[in-house]
Amino acid sequence: MILYNMRIAMKSLKRSPILSTVIVGGVMLGITVSTIFSTIRHSFAKDPIPHKSSALHYIRLDSWDPLRPYVPEQPTIPPTQITYRDMTALMKSTIPVRQSGMFKSNLWVSLPGGMPGGHGAGGTAAAGSAPDAGPPPDSAKTAASGRAPAIRPERVETRLCFADFFTMFEVPFRYGSGWDRKADTDAAQVVVLSEEENEKLFGGANSVGRTIRIMDRDFKVIGVIDHWRPSVRFYDLTQAFLSAPEKLFIPFTLMPPMQIGTGGNTDGWKSGPSPGFEGFLASETCWLQFWVELPTEEKVHEYEDFLTAYVMEQKKAGRFGRPLNNRVTPVLAWMAEQGVVPNETSAMAVVSLLFLAVCSLNLTGLLLGKFLARAPEVGVRRALGARRIDIFMQHLVECEIVAVIGGVLGLLISLGGLKILNKWMQVVLNRGDLFRIDLPMTLLAIGLSLLAGFIAGVYPAWRICRIQPAVHLKVQ
């Protein structure tokens, strides 16, 4: 029956090509606009690690100044990051299946035999200092003085983290793998390269076992990451979360010996007992992100109890002067709290759906005219025994066919529209692959076209199936 309806529908569409084109165009326009806007919102809001996001938790503790809250206007919010002292203590817990403290830095990288880099000058313990938001330095413009290197050294975004990072966040590997926990303990000089960095340094070859120079030390390449572009850099929402993941990953435990300062935010209220890097590490400066994997509800409770016990014990030692305020926040809740989805995109998505509604209403008028003009023909069919439901279905199917054709065309145009937006984002924010139509968005577009077809067609189809055959037969 459906097939028969479809055949009749196609015939009817061909009979009035201009009207059909206008109707298809209407749905197409509505679907284009709503798909583009919904995709923009979805690109920020979607779950970056769907099957695990509820197990991964971001940890915060309120180690801030007893005299005043971290954010004066919102006194219940603990600092966004944790101190080095607390991270070291928390890492000792065996409750999480996996866990990692981490931070981002910018380190000089070259190939051995190239320009000798220097060791880090160390971070400063200055209160409330802020990130250097400039873009990564440009590559070579002129040859360096004297010892011209093969590749001019560049500062490269590097993440310092623990072995669990790669398994916890399901980082895909092209060659090799991440390091193991022993490498953490030994502060081994091993490095994981991103796809791009491997391309740049080794022309994309399997570089596992090769050596690169980071600052003044040699590092052995232990793994090369495959294409990995989470929609947002969800494991560090403290800054620039639209950026691609870092290009290098090295063990966190190299931070103290190499005196590597952070390239991210630091918030402090009390300096350490001594000046310099040592003092910074012992200070109350919050500058590290900390994630734990807690797969079950019981584990979460167990970990919460562990945190409470830890803070209580620290209170005895004179720290944590503020009320107990630990936060164990799953990925999506943390994204919401950090405002990953720009409010404007939600407003635009709502507006685009209303736009589609107006398009549908428009089609109702056109379809009504078209169907009623066909009343005599329908009268004959009714007289020959077609039931009302048959007529109704036939016309509704016709509407849906038009809607789906319009929807598919709209989807194709949205691809083009998003491509233009991506290009613009590449220029403005250096991120050219943010807006992608994935399976959910494709289904949404098709679903919306079916809905638009239904809204537009249900009344005209109902009207046409209600006509009195006798009236129209008389005219013939």
Partner: protein, 435 residues
Amino acid sequence: MKESAAEGKGTPVMELGPILRSMKRSKVRFGLIVLEVALTLAVVANCITMIVDAKKQMAKTSGFDDDNILSVRSVPFDAAFKENGYLDNGLKQDIAAIRATPGVRAVTDTRFLPWQGGGSSTMLKAFGPKGEMLRTQIYAIDEGFLDTLGTHLVEGRNFTHEDVDRDTQRVRALADVNREKGPDGNPREKFLQDILITRAYARLLFGESPSYLGKLLEDTEGDQYRIIGVVDPFYNPYGWQIHDYAVFYAVYSRSFEGGEAFLVRTEPGRRAEVMQALDAKLLAVNGGRNVTLRPLAEVKNGYFTNQRAVEVLMSMIVVLLVLVTSLGIVGLTSFTVAERTRTIGTRRALGASKADILKHFLLENWLVTTMGLALGIVLTYALNMGLVSSVSTAKMSWLLPAGGVVLLWLAGLGATLVPALRAARISPAIATRNV
């Protein structure tokens, strides 16, 4: 066929009665226009609210000469830069080289970068037992800062070159020593530093006052800051609500890890030229580093990404929507005209003029549009409440729905005109056919 049932027989067309009666007979069709117009008004008015809001945000001025300022960042890799003396010499050479470049008006060594959506901040309070700690932006600057940004002193004096040299020495010496702590955990010996302050922050701390010069501030560790100059205007958007609050102290900043950062102000219109010259020049001064140059206008563009997207995309929606709705009205009216061809012919035969027919359709449509607009105003405010609660846009001014009403009236009339003119051209002879 109910839709096309003949209406009143030869009644005068300019009365509302027949129009309303004929509309009643095609309730659904006119209901559609009402709904469409209502939704269109709601969406258009709210889109324009968002566009206006975005424009307002983008029109906010920093008070600086944004269009002629360049950000220059230099990050060394040559190990020689690890030595402080080398760094200091390098800094002096760079400032001299930049200053000597044709087209450069002023240069300053500072890590402050307007429009990056942040910066550095700290908590300070008015000195004394009273008052609370209030957050402010804080930046190390040198004597060229005010000239480079193009902002002004409203009171007091700027740092001199000697001030910057002296304070740089003092602050660096302080960072290297282990300061002896008192019983409160803060350093026993307090440190006094001269600062410039923005007028907004001075007002916040000390209230309205004829002069803020010489007033003292203190930080969480008890160190003190003395105001020697008051700056206005200053605006740099920040994560916290401290856009207009800032204090500045005199220190040359440079390190191996952080490199150097400058702001350079060029003569109007010579930005591109200076940018090109500086790129080569700084690497010629010292090649053991990477240099990045960026116009401030570009940083500002990046900061307003969302607003620019709203502006462009929402404008497109408004245009498309008015177009779609107009086409919808054209379609529905055409259908009505086609359906009533015979009736119109009869009327013309009974003496109605072309103008009467035209008026009938225009009036009919005006009525429908107006009903739609009435419903639309309700929807507009409902949608606005929904959006305002989720988006931090400003509340809508009544001018917008009013403007939308006028726009849609015009669009409605325009859209009706084409089919209505066609209706007016229907010959009275039609009435005699096919009877």
